[in-house]
């Protein structure tokens, strides 16, 4: 199987990405915190984890085909369709099986595994990407339909080593645990904020005739409900999107009980058996 890839642009941001980044709200004073935060987080970790994984893969990369390896007689590619599209700003020309969905084209052909397969039937949102700036489920999108379209995946959100504000906010508010739904959540959030900006209403919009201002938490929850997070990191996801959307920082929702407080409670409990 051969991919006929021609990469015409690499590090340069596509117009699409430029637009996405422009459309992110100004972070105001939060921006400062974010930069400091990035400085702390990026040191080491980005390169480190990528490196670790490469080492693991190299073990197999060197593997030669064993004598007697069994291959199919027929060609690998059936009903080939030629598609020229842009992925994260880079031009790609692909010959795909007509049945190939965008999700599998990304993961299996372009080796861009940032986009995740969760259910393969449009029920979980893990595979969400942006096509021409709008969020779509890549598992339900035939690759052959994307001629001339621009696809943005999670790999295309950061500008070089600088994270997209939503990516940074997801880390800041721990808007994930296992991380598997995260690429879909991020792409969905980028698209969702754009929809809101366009004035799209949702099931919980109270006055559909009023001009749109700012999303309430309920609006964010509703509009992000197509993206399942089984770890249940929803409060962090909402806080992250809220900050990216409004620039407002969220207060912590956890605390330690201070020693004095604990001493007081213990004293009261000794004196009184009730709570």
């Amino acid at each position: 199987m051969k991919d006929d890839l021609d990469e015409t642009s690499g590090a340069e941001l596509s117009a699409d990405e430029e637009a996405l980044l422009r459309e992110m709200p100004t972070l105001g004073e939060v921006g400062q915190a974010r930069r400091t935060f990035l400085g702390q987080t990026l040191a080491g970790s980005m390169g480190l984890f990528a490196l670790m994984l490469m080492e693991k893969e190299q073990a197999l990369a060197a593997l030669a085909a064993e004598p007697g390896a069994v291959f199919a007689a027929a060609p690998a590619l059936e009903n080939p369709v030629r598609v020229a599209l842009k992925v994260n700003g880079a031009a790609k020309t692909l010959e795909v099986d007509s049945r190939t969905v965008l999700l599998d084209a990304l993961r299996e052909r372009l080796e861009m595994t940032g986009t995740k397969k969760g259910c393969d039937q449009g029920q979980c949102g893990a595979c969400t990407v942006l096509v021409d700036g709008r969020r779509v489920l890549s598992c339900l999108t035939l690759a052959a339909t994307l001629e001339g379209r621009e696809v943005t995946t999670v790999e295309g959100l950061a500008r070089g080593e600088e994270l997209h504000p939503l990516q940074a906010a997801f880390i800041k508010y721990d808007g994930f645990q296992c991380g598997y739904c995260t690429p879909g959540q991020l792409c969905s959030a980028v698209g969702m904020l754009e929809e809101a900006k366009r004035g799209d209403v949702s099931h919980v919009t109270e006055d559909v005739t009023a001009p749109f201002k700012q999303l309430s938490d309920d609006e964010i929850r509703e509009r992000m409900s197509g993206n399942i997070c089984r770890c249940g990191a929803y409060p962090g996801i909402v806080a992250a999107i809220r900050e990216a959307h409004t620039g407002r920082e969220s207060a912590r929702t956890w605390r330690f009980v201070e020693e004095e407080e604990l001493a007081r409670v213990r004293k009261e409990l000794e004196a009184d058996e009730t709570v």
Partner: protein, 738 residues
């Protein structure tokens, strides 16, 4: 004062996860990769009469179709290097695919189609045609309830005191029956493996909570030495228990790769996940509580029955924690199992505990109403100062503080006892509470640290990070005790080339692996001390390892930090670029003198639409006493996850079976309802730290399960408070409230 432990830290793998660089099992590349697609059977019990693969084999791109007719026999073989199993779990009688014509459950794998592309394999899988000699099946646990028996593993349950007699004479009694639907883990990442053989050596990328157990399983399956099998699992997209056992697909994938002499990838579809691993069993529980008018419990009889499979025994020990929660002299709490024609159930987040505590904590609420005593008050009246089962003291237990602090924070005083007495506009408001409990477990674990003269360290252990933040917490522990910065620590996991670690299950990772990392760091310090003291003029002369600590490249006396040596200098003098230590931590003898458990109090508010029966959990507070908290940020996320799982269990999740066909009707995320963003509102965590010097050197207990345990009961109790309707069957769907 610790520099990192107890302070919030963002995940060290955060950037990898938000940029899409974190690689999960199915995402590893291999040259000449072929794609496998599993074909599922369509009867619940019987034999395969015929299986026609000819059309599938003719389909373009198909490499081979495996069925029971052409799949080599897999399974335990004589293997000199193979260590004898240490316990029942290791005996590995797990289901292996395509080994015979026998059908044990509906949607059992009957073929594996391997093709050059995924599309081709998926298409050809539809062309495989099987016929069956179906036999009469039973998938309904209710139907076999009467034949339930004690699991053969472990001693049969013994009563404490005389519960029957005490119940008869009790002043107040509650007797009720509770049911919990079968549930599935549904992690976002489907289970997947990429297997490649190099001669008789296997490398497999797998989604696993315990790479060593997958290695053992595959070594046994293929009759090769364990050393020949490498299992790699650096990222796991959630598992919640579904990857504690190897499941059938790693062996199936490796079998195909071996037969075809090329790497093969197999990924479960979402539907295949419903029979591709275990589930939380369907559970029926009968509870009888007897109490004095004062509220003091005099008798507890709690019997649970749940399904197992016809070919394996599994029990989640539903009633286990009932024996340890309340002080009560008379108790009987057996868990019984009954085989049905379904896959073997397995551990699913807070296994047993969340099911058992749902029944017990609802029954306690019912008792509170019968006595007209505040539900929290009733729990205090029956507070266990010592472990009622063993009589041993708790190593620590700040549960009473949790109740009190939670009540204060929640505003429990404002609660009116009477059901349907609180409203928010047209919505009925209910407040409920329940106790959470989980064991503070620890297993043997090993970690290896290589500390370099430049202050950086490489730390490894074959544990897993299914989401709790193990990468981060181990990095913090290493940095704390090596005295360097987290950025200087590279922690790796999920690889059988690393020292052995237990399964990431039972909330024991930080306790077990954290203790190993801690021990390895101390071993590095001890080694450096010995090296330093080879020098006659060492300022640390005479110091014992316990007297010193590492900090910012120096080894110094704890009681007099002015006495120190430069570590790089010590290493240079000894011609060492690095120092490597491996440490195995084991549970201490001291632990045996105590009951070691984690506790919590959980409070929820629900709002119920009286016309639609829709329940919203608008507020939840977790007050948690589980020893020392290493990373409050990730711990809070674990608590949030526990609440969200509790909401799912209480209100939406159920695997529905059409018993006529013995088939799961909703094996997908459209019809199996996990909570979505709109279902989740305010969740707050209050950590009541305990100074526990017994549980392990770090003083930590686990919290991944604890946070979920009381939630379903608290929600059900809140629904009763809101509506006056006592729903004893989960999930509490709107139809049950109308």
């Amino acid at each position: 004062m610790p520099r990192y432990i107890g302070k919030e830290m963002s995940r060290v793998d955060g950037v990898a996860k938000v940029t899409g660089r974190a690689k999960y099992a199915a995402e590893f590349r291999a040259p000449n990769l072929a794609y496998g697609f599993i074909v599922l059977g369509s009867v619940a019990k019987g034999t395969i009469k015929s299986i026609d693969t000819s059309e599938a084999e003719r389909a373009p791109g198909v490499v081979r179709v495996f069925t029971h007719l052409n799949t080599p026999k897999l399974g335990p073989k004589a293997n000199t290097e193979y260590a004898p199993p240490r316990n029942a779990r290791e005996q590995d009688k797990s289901f292996r695919a395509l080994q015979s014509d026998r059908i044990y459950f509906n949607a059992q794998p009957v073929a594996l189609v391997v093709a050059e592309s995924y599309e081709q394999a998926r298409y050809a899988a539809r062309l495989v045609k099987a016929t069956y000699d179906a036999e009469k099946h039973t998938t309904d646990t209710e139907a076999v309830r009467e034949s339930a028996r004690s699991p053969s593993q472990g001693p049969p349950p013994k009563p404490r005191g005389n519960p029957e007699e005490a119940l008869k004479t009790a002043a107040v009694k509650v007797e009720a029956e509770y049911r919990i639907a079968m549930e599935h883990h549904n992690p976002m990442e489907p289970h997947a493996a990429v297997a490649a053989w190099d001669g008789d050596r296997l490398t497999i990328f797998d989604k696993s909570q315990e790479v060593y157990s997958v290695r053992r399983h595959l070594a046994t399956t293929f009759g090769v030495p364990e050393a020949n099998v490498t299992v790699v699992s650096p990222y796991v997209g959630g598992a919640f228990g579904s990857s504690l056992r190897p499941n059938y697909y790693p062996a199936l994938t490796a079998m195909a790769a071996r037969e075809l002499k090329r790497p093969v990838k197999v990924v479960y579809t979402r539907t295949q996940m419903f029979t591709g691993h275990g589930h939380r069993p369907y559970t029926i529980q009968k509870i009888a509580l007897g109490a004095e008018r004062s509220g003091k419990l005099t008798s507890m009889i709690h019997t649970a029955v749940h399904n197992t499979s016809t070919f394996e025994e599994f029990s989640d020990n539903t009633t286990g924690f009932t024996r340890q929660v309340y002080a009560c002299p008379n108790l009987f709490a057996p868990t019984l199992i009954a085989p049905v024609d379904l896959p073997t159930p397995t551990w699913m987040r807070a296994p047993g505990a969340v099911s058992g505590m749902f029944a017990l904590e609802c029954a306690m609420d019912e008792l509170a109403y019968k006595l007209n005593i505040d539900p929290l008050e009733l729990r205090l009246i029956n507070y266990a100062e010592r472990d009622p089962e063993s009589g041993r003291p708790f190593s620590s237990k700040a549960l009473r503080e949790c109740y009190r602090l939670g009540a204060e924070k929640f505003g429990w005083k404002e609660r009116r006892m009477e059901p349907r007495s609180m409203r928010d506009g047209r919505l009925l408001v209910g407040w409920g509470t329940a106790t959470g409990v989980w064991g503070a477990f620890q297993s043997p674990a090993s970690a290896k640290i290589t500390y370099r003269a430049d202050g950086t360290a490489h730390v490894t252990s074959a544990t897993s990070d299914i989401g709790p933040g193990t990468y981060t917490v181990m990095t913090m522990i290493a940095a704390e005790y090596l005295g360097n910065r987290p950025e200087q620590v590279k922690f790796e996991l999920g690889d059988t080339n690393f020292p052995r670690a237990p399964a990431q299950g039972g909330s024991q990772t930080t306790s077990s692996v954290g203790s190993a990392v801690h021990g390895a760091a101390l071993a590095v310090a001890a080694r450096l001390l010995a090296l330093a003291n080879q020098d006659e003029s060492s300022p640390l002369k005479g110091a014992a390892p316990a007297d010193v600590e590492m900090l910012d490249g120096r080894l110094r006396l704890k009681r007099d930090p002015s006495k120190s040596v430069q570590i790089p200098e010590v290493m240079r003098r000894n011609n060492l670029a690095e120092v490597t230590e491996t440490f195995e931590s084991r549970p201490s003898e001291e632990r045996r003198k105590y009951a070691t458990m984690a506790h919590g109090a959980q409070f929820v508010e629900v709002k119920v639409d009286p016309d639609l029966g829709r329940v919203r959990v608008t507020r939840a507070i977790e007050v948690t006493a589980c020893g020392k908290i290493i990373n409050p940020k990730a711990s809070h996320s674990q608590e949030i996850g526990g609440v969200v799982w509790g909401i799912g269990m209480a209100l939406t999740e159920a695997t529905e079976i059409d018993h006529r066909f013995g088939r799961i009707m909703n094996p997908n995320l459209q019809h199996y309802h996990v909570p979505v963003n709109a279902d989740v509102h305010e969740i707050e965590t209050i950590f009541v730290e305990e100074d526990d010097t017994v549980v392990n050197p770090l003083g930590v207990k686990g919290m991944g399960e604890l946070g979920m345990v009381g939630i379903p009961a608290a929600i059900a109790n809140a629904v009763f408070h809101a509506t006056g309707r006592r729903v004893r069957e989960l999930p509490i769907t709107p139809d049950k409230l109308l």
